[in-house]
Structure formats: structure tokens, C-alpha cells
Amino acid sequence: MLVLTRKLNEAVNLGDSIKISILSIENDRVRIGIEAPADMRIIRSELLDEIKNINKEAINTDIVIFSKEN
């Protein structure tokens, strides 16, 4: 992992098309601005992790059958 230290209003460029800026720093929260191509998925990591977990859990379903009463 590349680790950099930035101050308020400083930024980091990734490749040609991504720029990450530090917009505000308050207590334990940092506001980050991300400029990136529209087709790039940008997602909070914990949300992505949970979605991955859901897909993995889904494959372990027991088959569920609903049948009509006669």
C-alpha cells in the first residue's frame, strides 16, 4: 500500500484520470473529493465487502420450494 500524508486541500493523482482531494478534516472525519471517469465504480469499502459477502452467502442457499395446497 502506498501511504502519503496530505494536508487540507491537498490532492493525489492516480494515473491520468483520477484525482483525490482532501476537502475538509473535522474530528474523526475526512471529506474526500474524487474525480474519476464515469465508468469507474467508486464505493465505500465496507459496502462493497458486504455485497461480496451477500453473493457468497447466496450460493449456499438450501433449495426452497413453494407448493400450493390442494
Binding site: R41, I54, I59, D62, I63, I65
Partner: protein
């Protein structure tokens, strides 16, 4: 081609039914080819069966859960899907069905989109709106099965 599956036995698939997911699915990135299996007995759930490995996910139409489901989808997604006609768009939600079936949920915030004319699929993540990744669906599912009796049948364990 014939594939062997734990859930459905041997299935003969025609190439023109195979849906390609260029990026796979989150958490299952290695699986790029799927088919949709429809079983009367498990409706309203359908199954997304992988071709390259014996793995299948239960899926359900999000409109069966919320008839007003209207996630905001970026145009760039429709380009990825090569979608030319909105009628070619199929939307499915991944369902998690635990052994306590009262706790079944669907991922309404990360729908699977499929262009059925070109057999291209993609799972996208919707951050806006109040859609949940673990939306309880038991009640909605049972409303769909009027007068039905249900039981959860376990797969035979290998």
C-alpha cells in the same frame, strides 16, 4: 454443452442462453458465464447458475418485492450492457435464503442487470435512494404465492 450441477442435475445448455458478465459478480469475480434457470416449484425465485463452476444463486425480480422499484442507473451502465431497447433489460436481485426462511432477504441496492438481447450482464451498486442490501422479503414473497403452502426443502447433502 452439458454441465453437471448439484441443484439441477445435468443440464444441456445452448450457447445462445449463456450470459456473459465481463467482471463476474462482486465476491465471485472468477465466474463470467451464467444461465438463468426457471423452476416452477421455486417461483418467484429463479436461479443464476454459473457455467464455469457449479455455483448458483437464487434471484428474484425486485418488482415482486417493490412494484415501484426505480433505482437511478447511470447511462454509462447501459453502454456497458450495449442496451439498445429498454425492453431488453432484465433486472434481478440476489436473494439470501437462510435455513430460517422468515429471515430471507434480497439485495435491492445492488441489482443484476441483463441485456437479454445481447446476453450481457452486470451487477451494479446503487448508492442513492433507500434501497437496502439486505431487504427482508418474506412477506412480499408470500403475498405472491396466494393460498400457497410452503416448506423449505434441504438440498441433499453430498
Amino acid at each position: 454443452m452439458i454441465i453437471k450441477t448439484r441443484r439441477f442435475g445435468e443440464i444441456d445448455i445452448s450457447e445462445d442462453k449463456i450470459i456473459t458478465f465481463k467482471e463476474g459478480l462482486p465476491g465471485l469475480e472468477y465466474l463470467k458465464k451464467f444461465i438463468i434457470i426457471i423452476l416452477e416449484q421455486t417461483k418467484p425465485f429463479y436461479w443464476l447458475q454459473a457455467v464455469e463452476d457449479d455455483v448458483s444463486l437464487p434471484v428474484i425480480s425486485p418488482f415482486d418485492i417493490d412494484k415501484d422499484y426505480s433505482p437511478i442507473i447511470d447511462d454509462v451502465v447501459f453502454e456497458d450492457l450495449e442496451l439498445e431497447d429498454e425492453k431488453d433489460l432484465l433486472v434481478l436481485s440476489v436473494a439470501v435464503i437462510p435455513s430460517d426462511i422468515n429471515k430471507m432477504t434480497a439485495n435491492m441496492a445492488a441489482p443484476i442487470l441483463i441485456n437479454i438481447a445481447k446476453n450481457i450482464g452486470k451487477q451494479i451498486i446503487i448508492e442513492e435512494g433507500d434501497y437496502q442490501i439486505r431487504q427482508p422479503i418474506f412477506e412480499a414473497v408470500f403475498k405472491k404465492i396466494e393460498g400457497g403452502k410452503s416448506y423449505a426443502g434441504s438440498d441433499e447433502k453430498a
